[in-house]
């Protein structure tokens, strides 16, 4: 997206604006995905500067018509592809259910990842389960892929008595150590540099693990992102630095964080890091890119920056109405399609799937999610009085409770 109203006769100050705002007709006919040439797949241990075409171009494997293209196709088995489709669909069904339940007042807040499922699911499938991910709040697909029970996710969002965090965190700020899922901070960007520290610890200990960190494109403007690139480069940390460029940071378009840069991936080049920009709605490309980066990291090649080029199809959160700042129809006009539809088309093209199977799978997943929700709801919701023991509020501030906290707990009468 380039900018439109960026000059004013009142001042010389340049302030970028997105191409389309409410009232505009979104038009992406300037993007012709069939004409472009996509970069090839280099050896994972290539010199970082040789990834310049990958950082400014777009890594793709799947055409919009479901056919594969070029060297990045990871050539996954039909079973693996069907697994991927299942994880992506499950993520979407859970998101829709939780959104609806928030509207009924059962939870305070929720964030969907609709349109971005390929990024999380392909990451989880391409990495080892022991590789720690440092997510933002739109990678719940990783939890679905790594088999965290849906009911546990729901219990956390409902802050009920079965929430293993005992209601200490807001919905979606999961922490699932045994699924390699780092505690989500509500403060944007902070996890990026922590992931580098984790990766440095892996290297120090001589394990073969990698860390994988996620930020939205908006939060790349935080210092932590730049610290992460610097430290990852200096200490050659085995880490993957993922930027999910879904074009929007609440109401702010990507150009505010990007400045005059051509891509977020190219931020990595200046730090001497391998950098790839990937079609984030292309499951195969994301999978191949993550595999490439993890191979590089595991073989001593250090960190890779991956920009996942995608689109936030819905509102930022349950508190947001994008029609106030986005042109109507922008999501539909977005030329990169929907990741689930694209993988489905691919499987159909391979003769390994059909619409009937798709419909049956959705019915099955919906039933599973409905059942899970019933179980979760039975443990309490935000709408029912909390059954969490108030004494737990004072626990886990420190390993051992100091005297002042014990006194404050007594002051509360417990």
């Amino acid at each position: 997206m380039t900018s439109r109203k960026n000059t004013s006769n009142l001042s010389n100050l340049y302030v970028p604006e997105p191409e389309f705002r409410p009232g505009d007709l979104p038009d992406y006919s300037n993007i012709n995905l069939n004409k472009e040439k996509w970069p090839d797949r280099p050896d994972p241990l290539v010199d970082a500067y040789e990834t310049e075409p990958h950082a400014t171009g777009l890594v793709r494997a799947l055409k919009l018509n479901g056919e594969t293209y070029g060297q990045w196709d990871p050539k996954l088995s039909p079973d693996t592809l069907r697994q991927a489709l299942r994880h992506m669909l499950l993520t979407r069904v859970v998101d829709k259910r939780m959104f609806a339940m928030q509207r009924q007042g059962k939870l305070s807040f929720y964030m969907k990842s609709i349109g971005e499922e390929a990024i999380a699911v392909a990451t989880a499938m391409a990495l080892e389960d022991t590789d720690m991910v440092f997510p933002s709040y739109r990678q719940q697909g990783i939890l679905m892929t790594r088999g965290w029970p849906v009911v546990d996710l729901m219990n956390q969002c409902l802050s009920n008595k079965a929430d293993k965090l005992q209601g200490k965190a807001i919905p979606i700020c999961y922490s699932v150590r045994d699924k390699g899922f780092y505690s989500i901070s509500g403060n944007l960007g902070t996890q990026m540099i922590q992931a580098v520290g984790w990766a440095m610890a892996c290297a120090y200990k001589g394990t073969n693990e990698v860390a994988s960190a996620f930020t939205g494109e908006g939060a790349t403007a935080e210092g932590d992102f730049h610290y992460a690139l610097n430290f990852a480069s200096t200490y050659r940390a085995p880490v993957i630095i993922n930027v999910v460029n879904n074009q929007w940071a609440i109401s702010t378009f990507q150009g505010i964080a990007a400045g005059q840069s051509r891509s977020f991936a190219s931020r990595g080049l200046g730090f001497g890091l391998a950098s790839l920009r990937v079609d984030g709605n292309d499951f195969l490309a994301v999978y191949a890119a993550v595999k490439w980066a993890s191979e590089r990291a595991r073989n001593g090649g250090g960190a890779t920056v991956i920009e996942h080029f995608t689109y936030r199809q819905e509102g930022h959160s349950t508190s947001d109405d994008p029609s106030a700042y986005r042109a109507k129809g922008e999501a539909e006009a977005w030329p990169f399609g929907d990741p689930i539809d694209r993988l489905k088309e691919h499987l159909i093209k391979l003769g390994e799937w059909d619409q009937e199977q798709q419909d049956a799978l959705i019915v099955e997943l919906k039933a599973h999610v409905r059942e899970s929700y019933k179980k979760a709801e039975a443990m309490g919701t935000l709408a029912s009085p909390t059954e969490i023991n108030p004494a737990t509020m004072f626990e886990q501030v420190f390993e051992e409770m100091p005297t002042h906290l014990r006194r404050q707990r007594q002051e509360l009468g417990i």
């Binding site: 005992q166 200490k168 505690s183 901070s185 902070t190 540099i193 580098v196 932590d224 886990q396 420190f398």
Partner: protein, 341 residues
């Protein structure tokens, strides 16, 4: 078995604590700006890289948010990082990683991820350091739930408390009063400088020992006045008590969070008078917290209002350092005033 003792200044005591922990525990890493080959601008990490290896003691980019951020990640993994921030005046870029991350990781994950890291940083004035080398930001940290804030006043405590900090399973901010690195300081720059070489608190066991947090140290025992202080101000208090001849308890708090409230209450209930000292600016300083606790717990024992002597609410000045610093003269005056009340 008598423990082998050695005369150390505070720099050597800190260095010894780091060396012992690095020798005992391969998960202890030490890093920060100029910390590696050179051994730190105050020399606290001298020799550690040579002895323990480049991979265990190393230089970092000049990015305090990055230094503390990687330390949080390492600590969550299971290492015990000890990060140095060159001066507390430069800790603010790392504040978010301390306040929002290190201090809250355990709570928000309900104990699944923890951040057992130690952040060492020199604090305080009296060294002609001006605004950028003299600040005492402890109150900005004691206000954070989930963080421990420690400040020793002598080599013996520095070593025992630092080892404790590294072994602690929660994040610890370890503030080192830089004016005390080489010797006690009376608060009067015209008095001859002292060093630790003949001081009994410079006599430090060579081996491993720890000092518990939440335990104040009664630096001097008296009957008529309680002086609550920490860091450099312990020595200013001592000099002022000598100068005024008042028989005072000097309570060296050492551990600001968690705080040894029992020791404070016991002393004030005994003496009935209380003076609170800190170098930091006054408004919303740690002294305000101390005064609130003392008035609540010792109200009926108090014979006079509680008085505090602090730095002024200005940035730390360069030329007027001794007008700013709550030195011997101001503290002595305050003691006299309280005793006359």
């Amino acid at each position: 078995m008598a423990e082998a003792m050695k005369q150390m200044n505070m720099i050597q005591a800190i260095n010894s604590a780091l060396d012992i922990k690095m020798s005992q525990d391969p998960d202890v890493l030490v890093f920060g700006e100029d910390v590696g080959y050179f051994g730190g601008v105050f020399r606290c990490t001298a020799g550690l890289q040579e002895k323990h290896g480049l991979h265990r003691c190393f230089d970092t980019p000049i990015a305090e948010g990055g230094i503390i951020g990687v330390a949080v990640g390492m600590a969550a993994y299971g290492l015990r990082p000890v990060a140095e921030i060159q001066f507390a005046d430069y800790i603010y870029p790392g504040y978010d990683q301390i306040a929002s991350e290190a201090a809250r990781l355990r709570y928000r994950s309900n104990g699944e991820f923890t951040a057992p890291l130690t952040i060492r940083t020199p604090v305080g004035g009296g060294i002609h350091g001006g605004q950028t080398h003299s600040q005492s930001p402890e109150a900005l940290f004691t206000h954070i739930a989930g963080l421990k804030t420690i400040i020793p006043s002598n080599p013996y405590d520095a070593k025992g408390l630092l080892i404790k900090a590294i072994e602690d399973n929660d994040p610890v901010l370890f503030l080192e009063p830089k004016r005390l690195y080489n010797g006690p300081f009376s608060g009067d720059p015209h008095m001859p400088a002292r060093n630790w070489s003949k001081h009994e608190l410079g006599e430090v066991p060579e081996g491993h020992y720890t000092i518990d947090f939440e335990k104040a140290r009664l630096h001097r025992e008296g009957a008529d006045l309680t002086i609550l202080c920490y860091g450099t101000m312990v020595w200013v208090a001592e000099a002022a008590v000598e100068a005024t001849g008042v028989d005072a308890d000097i309570v060296d708090l050492r551990s600001l969070m968690p705080l040894d409230l029992d020791a404070i209450v016991k002393s004030v209930n005994k003496t009935g008078r209380c003076l609170v000292l800190h170098e930091a600016t006054r408004t919303s300083g740690f002294g305000a917290e101390l005064i609130a606790e003392v008035q609540q717990h010792c109200f009926y024992a108090l014979e006079t209002p509680i008085v505090r002597v602090t730095g002024w609410d200005t940035p730390y000045p360069h030329a007027l350092e001794w007008e700013y610093f709550p030195g011997l003269e101001r503290v002595s005056e305050a003691i006299t005033r309280i005793m006359e009340d």
